[in-house]
């Protein structure tokens, strides 16, 4: 395994211009296991070298495209945005989704955050995460509170066992722990995708599964501000679990979005991203006022840029992987 300081990265020097003067550069990062993480670095028009960076991490099982709307809000407010697909997950990075584990998701997030710091020119770095990836971000913050200034999250999972049980309508972690299943390489499902039982086994073995573990880690993450947006009608994340967990953090804010579900849409995103952007500005760009919400055309334009860059992104390699 490589240490974080040995991470090898390649940032495409060609910048593709997009709506509102946003510049997008594909990057690849060889993670601590040598697998390639593929992502996009997006800078707002006129970004300074020390422009604060926000690493946007999509929920497990979906690609970085799902964070495109996040990016339009953050870019419109002067933040540099790093988005990526974790390895062994959905998307363009190395690895098969069947081999996904939350531990790997956390490792990749830490590796991307470490690299993002090098792009912030001494400025601050924060995380914007969703769903199970939010849980991984909490552990990243607990293990090294210096990694991020703030964690914004949407539908953050705090009781992993309760959530994956609700998602699957079956207690797969319980099945593993009780010995009903013993072959960790056998496959089962998560969100209708095929994964190995190893994913559930490691949730228990690596201490992800309980609410108590989340509470403990939030107590450890001193110095990091947590802001979580939770959907009132989220079928997979219980409000009481979220409330109990974030109550353990030294600096946290919890907002329940009325009638919202687990995933954001244009209507709920407006509210959620408006709040999160305001929080990121207060923390990372004090004295600045929030800008106007991005137009629909920005979303269409950014999509166009990203579609064009997809082939380029797949062809990139780090110096050590060439």
């Amino acid at each position: 395994m490589k240490s974080v300081s040995m991470l090898s990265a390649y940032l495409d020097p060609d910048r593709m211009p997009g709506p509102g003067g946003v510049m997008t550069q594909p990057f690849v990062l060889s993670n601590r296991y040598g697998a390639l993480i593929r992502g996009l670095l997006q800078r707002p028009a006129g970004a300074d070298a020390d422009c604060p960076v926000i690493v946007a991490a999509a929920g497990l099982g979906v690609t970085m495209r799902r964070t495109m709307l996040f990016a339009t809000f953050l870019l419109a407010n002067g933040f540099t945005v790093v988005r990526y697909d974790p390895t062994h997950a959905a998307g363009l990075s190395d690895g098969d989704f069947r081999d996904v584990t939350l531990t790997r998701v956390q490792d990749d997030l830490v590796d991307v955050l470490s690299w993002a710091k090098t792009q912030a020119g001494g400025g601050q770095v924060a995380t914007l995460a969703a769903s199970l990836t939010g849980r991984a971000a909490i552990r990243a913050a607990a293990q090294d509170p210096g990694l991020m200034t703030m964690m914004g999250s949407v539908a953050c999972v705090t009781n992993v066992r309760a959530t994956v049980t609700a998602v699957n309508s079956a207690d797969r972690i319980g099945q593993w722990l009780s010995g009903q299943v013993t072959d960790r390489l056998a496959t089962t499902e998560l969100f209708d995708d095929e994964i190995r039982w190893n994913a559930y086994a490691t949730l228990a073995e690596d201490g992800w599964d309980t609410l108590a573990s989340t509470e403990r880690e939030l107590r450890c993450a001193a110095g990091v501000r947590f802001v979580n947006l939770h959907g009132e009608n989220d079928p997979w994340v219980r409000t009481e679990d979220v409330r109990a967990a974030f109550a353990q953090a030294a600096d946290a804010r919890l907002i329940v979005l009325g009638s919202a579900v687990h995933e954001l849409n244009f209507a709920t995103a407006r509210v959620a991203l408006g709040i999160l952007t305001h929080e990121f500005i207060s923390r990372m760009r004090p004295g600045c006022e929030p800008g106007p919400e991005p137009e629909f055309g920005h979303f269409v334009g950014l999509n166009k840029v990203e579609r064009k860059l997809q082939g380029r992104l797949l062809s990139l390699a780090t110096p050590s992987n060439r």
Binding site: V62, G231, E232, N233, T239, R243, F246, A247, A252, R253, L254, I255, V256, L257, G258, S259, A260, V261, N265, F266, A267, T268, V271, A272, I275, P292, E293, E295, F296, G297, F299, V300, N303, K304, R307, Q310
Partner: protein
């Protein structure tokens, strides 16, 4: 214990639009009640925010209270020709306006101004129709669009609608510099990736042209194994001379693209004044989404016609906020209410018969001017 802040984030209309995986899963009776509420809210929004429409509604003697009591059919409909001669903008606006124009085949271009919320809701309506088209947002899919990309589409609404499918799945565009690149598309289809669902989408005249070329050059292209789908969108417009009956077109397309049956051919309907897309199911029925009220109207006095009676189609579309989505179109058709379809959905079913000819259209416009001058 941490304080929890509670913020209202979404209303019932947007909940139905964005948060229901399948809008038709709402029981029909509840959908009718919801549609009534949405119509009242939309009417109130328009009379409060649009001076022209308020005058129009007042002249027709229709108040919010009356719409509340009588339902969406009481809402005065604007003849689509109004959008050809007047810029109708309803405030307060959400962000900048995008100018959307019709192709002008009926003489004169309609102009509809859409703000951010209206555009977002339109995209929401496109997404909500995926299920009915048997498309899955998370399944590897590639759209082959027989139309231009967003930049070339510019203000032309029909082309813009086709171009934004790229927001849902990767899309390639085969009209460039105003020319349909059929041979390029055929080459691409022959080399397409296995395991990725191919979806051809475009106006029927170009779909027909593509099928004819494929048949002539290769006999056929097998899109069946990856659940290939062909979606026609829009009418024949300037190409009515080339129009073939729908059944004939379906038979040709199933054969040429070696599709897995007739259900793999679908149709979508929209027009520049409408902010909702209506799509056909596997049974070739156009299901009206629960928020949209469609009626067939008597061209003489605009009264709502009965089940299956042919008339001018009128729409009450609450998804439009920056303009009044209450429109009497130039199309003739029928509406059947609360139909239990073999696809498993229960909804109103729209059937568009034909576009009014210019002569008929002028005749109607003259009559409409007497009863409905905005």
């Amino acid at each position: 214990m941490l304080d929890v802040e509670f913020i209202a984030a979404i209303d019932e209309l947007e909940d139905l639009l964005y948060q229901q995986e399948e809008p038709f899963s709402v029981p029909y009776e509840r959908a009718v009640r919801l549609r009534h509420e949405f119509a009242v809210q939309a009417f109130e929004w328009q009379v409060n925010g649009n001076h022209d429409y308020r005058r129009f509604a007042e002249a027709a003697g229709v108040s919010v209270e009356r719409v509340r009591q009588e339902g969406p059919d009481a809402i005065p409909l604007l003849p689509s020709s109004v959008f050809k001669r007047r810029d109708l903008v309803t405030g307060p606006l959400d962000g900048q306006l995008r100018r959307c124009t019709s192709s002008g085949t009926q003489g004169g271009r309609s102009v509809v101004n859409r703000d951010r919320r209206t555009l977002e809701r339109f995209l929401g309506s496109v997404s909500s129709t995926l299920e009915i088209l048997d498309l899955d947002a998370d399944r590897p899919t590639r759209f082959y669009v027989l139309g231009p990309d967003t930049v070339e589409a510019a203000d032309l609404w029909f082309s813009y609608v086709l171009s934004i499918v790229d927001l849902i799945h990767p899309a390639e565009f085969y009209v460039r510099d105003g020319r349909f690149r059929a041979d390029e598309l055929i080459e691409r289809l022959l080399e397409r990736e296995e395991g990725v669902q191919p979806v051809l989408i475009g106006p029927p005249v170009l779909v027909l042209e593509l099928a004819a070329r494929v048949k002539e050059q290769h006999g056929g292209i097998d899109l069946g194994p990856d659940r290939g789908l062909v979606i026609t969108a829009g009418g024949w417009k300037r190409s009515t001379g080339k129009a073939v009956p729908r059944e004939e077109l379906i038979e040709l397309l199933v054969g040429v693209f070696e599709l897995d049956g007739r259900s793999r051919i679908r149709d979508c309907f929209n027009m520049v004044e409408l902010n909702t897309v209506v799509s056909s199911c596997a049974e070739h029925r156009m299901h009206v989404p629960p928020w949209l009220r469609v009626t067939a109207r008597d061209p003489g006095d605009l009264r709502v016609l009965g089940e299956g009676e042919s008339g001018m189609l009128g729409y009450v579309d609450p998804l439009a906020t920056s303009y009044p989505g209450f429109v009497l179109s130039d199309d003739l058709g029928t509406v059947s209410y609360g139909v239990d379809c073999a696809c498993g959905r229960r909804s109103d079913i729209l059937r568009i018969e034909r576009r009014l000819s210019r002569v008929e259209s002028r005749g109607c416009a003259l009559k409409l001017d007497q009863v409905a001058r905005p």
